[in-house]
């Protein structure tokens, strides 16, 4: 029953992704540790959420690295990005809704770094002529997060098959719903 900080965080992420209002007690039980121990490592609920935020940001930075956003065409890079994001999609969904509660406080600057990388990808795609220019990189970034989160919820609710996650997100984001003539 040793306390593995990272393992506890991942368990908490899994629980909170499903039930965002889970209590500290529930988080502790889910992680198989005592509430006191949980408190010894995370000063409070806020600290826990911050730690989850850090974990999420770290995971996505790794995912972005693996996706090699600078290589190949932007659409291909985006597909890789969606594929690499899938394992952490529920965590992202949780953090996105949680962030909306932080109103104006101070948001982790890590998000800005991630946003910048995604925005840069879209911008590159626009410059190379692969991405339409009437949709701003900022909006495309938001939309990516939104679709990843939505699909994560849909998968958890059984409305979308898990195996379709990558296709559903990447294809909708890239190609849209309209049936293209050239296809």
């Amino acid at each position: 029953m040793a306390m593995d900080r990272d393992q506890v965080l991942r368990t908490a992420a899994a629980l909170l992704s499903r039930k965002a209002t889970a209590t500290m007690d529930e988080v502790a039980k889910a992680a198989g540790i005592g509430r006191a121990t949980l408190h010894r490592h995370f000063a409070g609920r806020d600290a826990l959420v911050r730690a989850l935020e850090d974990l999420g940001i770290r995971e996505f930075e790794v995912a972005f690295d693996k996706a090699r956003l600078d290589e190949g065409t932007a659409p291909d890079a985006l597909r890789r990005l969606v594929a690499e994001s899938e394992p952490n999609a529920p965590l992202l969904a949780f953090l996105v809704t949680e962030n909306q509660l932080f109103e104006g406080d101070q948001v982790n600057e890590g998000w800005a770094r991630l946003d910048a990388r995604v925005s840069a990808l879209f911008r590159r795609g626009q410059q190379e002529g692969d991405i339409r220019i009437d949709l701003s990189p900022a909006w495309l970034t938001e939309a990516l997060y939104g679709l990843v989160g939505s699909c994560a919820w849909a998968v958890m609710d059984g409305r979308v098959a898990a195996k379709d996650f990558q296709h559903m997100v990447a294809e909708l984001l890239l190609g849209g719903a309209r049936r293209s003539v050239e296809k």
Copy 2:
């Protein structure tokens, strides 16, 4: 200072869309009424959220009617739907995140009715050859909600200009981010 139930609900919707954790006290103050009065009309916070849910469902049913989902091509109907949804987009964003807390409880059957109408629209588009068939109507419906909600947040945060809402949502959903050759 007479109590106008519908006006109170709209004020609450506006507040809670920005700050989902707003207290009953804050809601009452925002509505310009006393907390006791608020309590006389809504048995509790749950009842208030349920009432907001009803309001939202009513609003969207009206919006769907106005959008005339059965007329014209599916893409055109979808554009009208996005346009009609815009005024209530923040409320939708709030209700969507709130619904995720309702885990398995009982979800208002109104959502099923709305889902059915949107799904039917996408299905019609697929049958008429305007919407691609490799994306399920259920997912397209979820994606629509997700994009409307995401864009509502983005507008509230100033990352997207309010005047671009319809274009950003409808064009991304329909056409995707990839620059099409035919365009």
